[in-house]
């Protein structure tokens, strides 16, 4: 008998238990980020800009030089980092409250300036860390602690489709939405994330990727039901796909 190595965890990923809840997609997305950076040999030259939300501890899991940005300001901080170190690979990792609510001005303008950074956006339709309040991406009818009767479009507006909004800005080279709820989507997500990173690596400008993610705890569901909800409710409203690819055009 001898052992066969079936899967090797990326060395950029810390070998420690995470604080994420069972069924949360952050861990999976962290792994994808670490794998893609490693496969593109970017780890040694990467500066990560963390944000505020459940992923505030990203630096505990992905072993990169990291600076913590105030809530919503990661794209501004990343602008400062990238302008200082154009030779380095710079990405932000932000949730929906951080990016689409309090940080909307920063993401819109960093994108519109075409900052040569990559943005990993995790949309789980809820404020996770603070305990499940309504987010700008909360679905119509979805109950949260601050819309206990369900989000109502008359009162709270419609969920914001950030990948599409980003695609409409001049400075954006690439914008896509992916999910990691099943193996098929996971594989596609990895390919797309790599694409986003390659755009920065080749100096082509601003790349944006939105991950649809589950939050079983705040959705008050089992992990499998949460995955099911993601498929049946989120994907029809937040379609997966590439909304802009200037790299593809230039080829």
């Amino acid at each position: 008998m001898h052992e066969i190595l079936a899967y090797k965890s990326p060395s950029l990923l810390a070998d420690i238990p995470s604080h994420y809840c069972p069924g949360c997609h952050h861990g999976t997305i962290h792994k994808l980020v670490a794998q893609c950076l490693q496969e593109l040999e970017l780890g040694d030259d990467t500066i990560c800009v963390g944000s505020i939300g459940c992923s505030v501890f990203i630096y505990n899991y992905i072993l990169l030089d990291t600076v913590e940005a105030p809530h919503g300001r990661a794209p501004a901080v990343a602008t400062g980092v990238k302008r200082s170190r154009p030779d380095k690979f710079v990405f932000t990792y932000q949730g929906d409250g951080d990016l689409a609510s309090i940080g909307l001005a920063e993401i819109m303008h960093a994108a519109n300036r075409g900052e040569k950074i990559s943005v990993v956006f995790v949309n789980n339709t809820v404020y996770g860390m603070t305990g499940g309040q309504m987010a700008p991406t909360t679905m119509i009818g979805q109950k949260t602690t601050t819309c206990p009767g369900g989000r109502c479009s008359d009162r709270e507006g419609l969920p914001m489709k950030m990948a599409e909004i980003m695609a409409g800005l001049g400075g954006v080279s690439y914008s896509a939405r992916v999910a990691v709820n099943n193996i098929k989507n996971f594989k596609k997500a990895k390919k797309t994330l790599k694409q986003v990173f390659e755009i920065q690596k080749s100096g082509k400008g601003f790349g944006f990727i939105e991950f649809l993610a589950s939050c079983p705890t705040n959705w008050k569901m089992t992990s499998t039901d949460a995955n099911d909800r993601l498929k049946k409710e989120m994907i029809p409203f937040f379609p997966l796909g590439v909304f802009k690819d200037l790299q593809g055009e230039s080829k």
């Binding site: 630096y59 990291t66 501004a76 200082s84």
Partner: protein, 350 residues
């Protein structure tokens, strides 16, 4: 070097350039617009970066990002914009990041006016944002000093890994004086070799953060910050003017400090024995000199272009050892030497 005749705002921008500043992030607001305008040309010419940010919030956070890379970077604004920058300044102080922030104080509260004021003293020297932190605060009284203190601001920012504020006002920013520029510094493009971010090649990853959740971590961090502020006390700077034989010590900073000098000169000719301490560093505050003057039995009069802010620090410094009066020039009114004659005479007679 030959003297050049420039505005206070331009002196600060030029000072930053000569001190090796390589990144400037700004947003338009009167009366500091000469700074971003100068930098929009100067930074690209110096191989640096200029970004007109979408807001003061963003500009200050860009400063945070650049600071994390160990580069000399600066932002500037005026009072309403400074309120917006406080978030990033607090994070920078918490994450121990060096950066220079300029406030050309205008009248407040709210939108106030675009004239000079010292209404942001508390905000500048007591932290300004949330949490227990301090920024070092330099208050130029001349255009030459505005230039020179910008060099010092960068030096202190990196020496203490802390945000440093330059607190001027519409007078210092808009007035022109001859200055003698220094030789531009040749600084390393990236400083802070032991902490800056550049990718974790061949070493452990570095984390620049202000969040400390584990047991005792935040207490330890706060203690470390307080020890740093204590160490910074040796950076105190002030100007002493005609204090030796004075029975009244006037304490005034920045533009008011220099305007009061004119009043003192005039009153001296009439036999009034007044002198001046002009704090150049507002944090650390020149407490020792004030205390020793109080011990000599001198009286005090604090004059500010606000309704009484620095006077609290003066009173803390002199520990009740001497009589301490206050005169506030109302923000919105332009100060002239005449305005201070009667208050000084009254304080001398009290």
């Amino acid at each position: 070097m030959a003297r050049i005749f420039i505005k206070g705002n331009v002196a600060i921008a030029r000072g930053a350039l000569d001190a090796g500043c390589k990144c400037y992030f700004g947003y338009p607001i009167t009366p500091q617009n000469d700074i971003p305008e100068f930098m929009s040309r100067a930074m690209p010419e110096a191989g640096g970066e200029f970004v007109q940010a979408e807001s003061e919030v963003a500009a200050a956070n860009m400063l945070l990002g650049a600071a994390a890379c160990g580069i000399r970077a600066m932002t500037s604004s005026s009072s309403p914009g400074m309120s917006l920058k406080q978030e990033a300044i607090s994070y920078m102080a918490g994450s121990e990041l060096p950066g220079v922030i300029v406030n050309m104080n205008r009248g407040g509260p709210g939108l106030g006016d675009i004239g000079p004021s010292q209404g942001d003293y508390f905000q500048a020297v007591k932290g300004g944002g949330h949490g227990d932190y301090r920024t070092l605060v330099l208050a130029p009284g001349t255009v030459q000093e505005a230039y020179d203190l910008t060099f010092l601001a960068f030096e202190l920012a990196f020496a203490y890994r802390n945000p440093v504020l330059i607190l001027g006002d519409a007078i210092i920013g808009q007035m022109q004086e001859p200055i003698t520029p220094s030789k531009p510094l040749a600084v390393d493009p990236f400083e802070g070799g032991s902490w800056r971010l550049e990718g974790a090649r061949q070493r452990e990853a570095r984390i620049l953060k202000s969040l400390h959740l584990t047991d005792g971590a935040l207490a330890g961090h706060n203690l470390k910050l307080q020890e740093k502020y204590k160490r910074a006390e040796k950076e105190v700077r002030f100007e002493e003017f005609m204090t030796d034989d004075a029975s009244l010590i006037i304490v005034a900073y920045g533009s008011i400090g220099r305007i009061v000098k004119s009043t003192i000169r005039k009153l001296r000719k009439e036999g009034y024995k007044a002198g001046l301490i002009r704090p150049v560093t507002l944090y650390p505050f020149p407490s020792q000199i004030l205390k020793s003057l109080a011990e000599q039995g001198k009286k005090f009069l604090t004059i500010e272009h606000n309704m009484g802010q620095m006077v609290e620090d003066v009173r803390l410094s002199i520990c009740g050892l001497a009589h301490s009066a206050f005169h506030g020039q109302l923000p919105g009114n332009l100060p002239t030497p005449n305005d201070f004659e009667q208050p000084i005479i009254n304080a001398l007679r009290s």
